[in-house]
Structures are given as C-alpha cells and as structure tokens.
C-alpha cells in the first residue's frame, strides 16, 4: 500500500499528471475535512484545497521521501489553511461577533435537560447544533480541530494523527482536553440558565 503511494509520488514528481490526479482523489476528502475544521466554511475550505494542491504540484520535485507523501501533502494543506485562518481572524477582529444569542442558549439548555428530544427539538436540531458549534468555535484551534475531526467526521485516532502530523498520543490528549474545555463552556453557558429556572 505504502509502495503504491511512493510510486505515485515518484511518478507525480516526474511530471505524470495522471499519478498526481490519483493522489488528489485519494487525499482530498481528509484534506477537505482538515481545511474545513480549521476554517469553518465549506467554500473557504474548497478554495484552500485548490490553492494547496497547486502548491503541492509546483513543489513536487522537492519531496525527498516518496513514502511520506501523504504527510507532506497534508502539511501543505494545513499550512495554506492556517494562513487563511489567520487572515480571517484579522478580518473578524475588525467585526466582533457574539457567541450564542440568549434565545439559542435557552433552547439548547432545554434540549439537553429533556429526557428525550421531542419533535420540536428534532426540527430545531440544526439550530441547536449551530449553537453548540458556536461554543466549539471558541476553543483554540488545536483542540477544536481534533474534536471536530473525531466527533463530527468520525475519523480514527491514526487518521487524525496522520492528517495533522501529530503522534497518536498527542491526538488523544488534545481530544481529552477539548472535551474538558467544551464541558466547562457548556456548564458555564447553561448553568446560569438552570440556576435561574
């Protein structure tokens, strides 16, 4: 399997576009998830991916170890997404945004407090999810990305580790910490409402 990747990398390095196409096909879904979790917007993630793959193609002759092609490609995707995320953050600083309007947090509080979700909750699920996502967005990038890749995208630890260029142990500890932080944020956001009720 690894030989297959290495062969593709060598052929692509020599300018074989069909080999590069296969590499794009094989990596784009995970690369897209990483970019999406870093940037938060599907359109921006797709643009970042296009830019990243173009950079990968242009740098194809600089890949020293063809066996490491996947990690190398994901590193370039992360680099591009990270630059775009920083630019977006600068823009956002100029337009401050509020996290979780009062009504949304009240709805989330009653949803989480219910024994089982009612029909109303199912209809409002997308909105409730957006409220939770608003809290997740306030986590730092390194915790947010690991949490979303695991919980939303259902990726395994190995896959997350490879796509983020991290040891598996670091992925586990970041995920644990991300859950702790999200739990505290939920508690803080909902506690006041429950106390008041």
């Amino acid at each position: 399997m690894n030989d297959d990747w290495a062969q593709l990398a060598q052929r692509a390095g020599a300018g074989d576009r069909s080999a590069f196409r296969t590499l794009v096909e094989r990596t784009q879904v995970v690369a897209y998830r990483v970019a999406l979790r870093m940037l938060g917007s599907p359109a921006e993630a797709e643009d970042a991916l296009q830019e990243a793959y173009l950079q990968i193609w242009n740098a194809r002759t600089r890949l020293r170890d063809p066996d490491a092609v996947r990690g190398w490609m994901f590193a370039i995707v992360r680099n591009v997404a990270s630059k775009r995320a920083r630019a977006r953050q600068r823009r956002r600083k100029r337009e401050p945004q509020s996290v979780g309007a009062t009504g949304d947090m009240d709805r989330l509080a009653s949803y989480l407090a219910a024994e089982s979700p009612g029909p109303e909750d199912v209809v409002a699920e997308a909105q409730l999810r957006a409220t939770v996502m608003g809290l997740v967005d306030t986590l730092g990038e390194k915790h947010r990305v690991v949490l979303l890749l695991r919980v939303v995208d259902g990726m395994g630890y190995d896959e997350i580790a490879q796509s983020l260029g991290l040891p598996v142990g670091t992925v586990e500890s970041r995920l644990h910490r991300a859950r702790q932080l999200l739990g505290k944020k939920l508690e803080r956001a909902l506690g006041r409402r429950r106390g008041a009720a």
């Binding site: 897209y32 991916l49 793959y53 173009l54 194809r60 996502m133 909902l190």
Partner: protein, 110 residues
C-alpha cells in the same frame, strides 16, 4: 443532570451533522487549474527569471528611460549667470578692469 451527560448530548448534536465532504469532486477543478498553466516553477530555478521578466526588467527599463531623458534634456538647460565671464568676454575688456577701483573711481596703479 450531569455535566458529562450534557457534553455527551452536545457531541451527539455535532455528530448528527455527519462527516464532511467537498460539495463536488475537486479533482477536475484542481487538475484544470494545473493544466491551464497556473504553475509556479517546479524546481525554483525559473523563479529568478520570472521575477526579472515581471518586475525587475520593467523597473530597470523605466530607470534607463529616465536617465536617457535627463541626459538629452541637460544641454538645453540655461547655464547659471557668470558676470565675471561676461566682462572678460567683452571686446573692450582689459585686465585692469578687474583691479580694485581707487578713491576717484579710477584703477589704482600697479
């Protein structure tokens, strides 16, 4: 209601979104961009050539054009006034004209 259960249900909400995937297969878009020649130098060697063609050459050309324009314009400029030169160039000039005047307005004897 425990905080652990809140977190679990909140995660359940997130998970209900399902794994993300690009809205379309991006392969054709990416390969199309590459085929259109939107590529930077693969080995870096062409980078300086491109920089020269795109940036340095026009700047150098503009500088050279400005230098030529200055050189052409230079001889037509009016020289600064030179009163002593004008006196010396006069047909009536005598070296005594340059000597300091005496008390009655006549040149002193050497």
């Amino acid at each position: 209601m425990t905080a652990g259960r809140d977190l679990e249900r909140a995660e359940g909400l997130l998970a209900s979104e399902g794994p993300a995937a690009p809205s379309v297969d991006l392969t054709d878009r990416i390969m199309g961009t590459i085929a259109a020649g939107a590529e930077a130098p693969a080995d870096g060697s062409r980078g300086w050539v491109e920089l020269w063609i795109r940036v340095a050459w026009p700047v150098a050309a503009a500088g050279a054009a400005a230098a030529v324009a200055l050189a052409v314009a230079a001889p037509t400029r009016t020289p600064p006034p030179d009163p002593v030169g004008a006196i010396m160039a006069s047909p009536d000039f005598h070296p005594r004209h340059l000597l300091p005047l005496g008390p009655k307005g006549t040149p002193d004897a050497p």
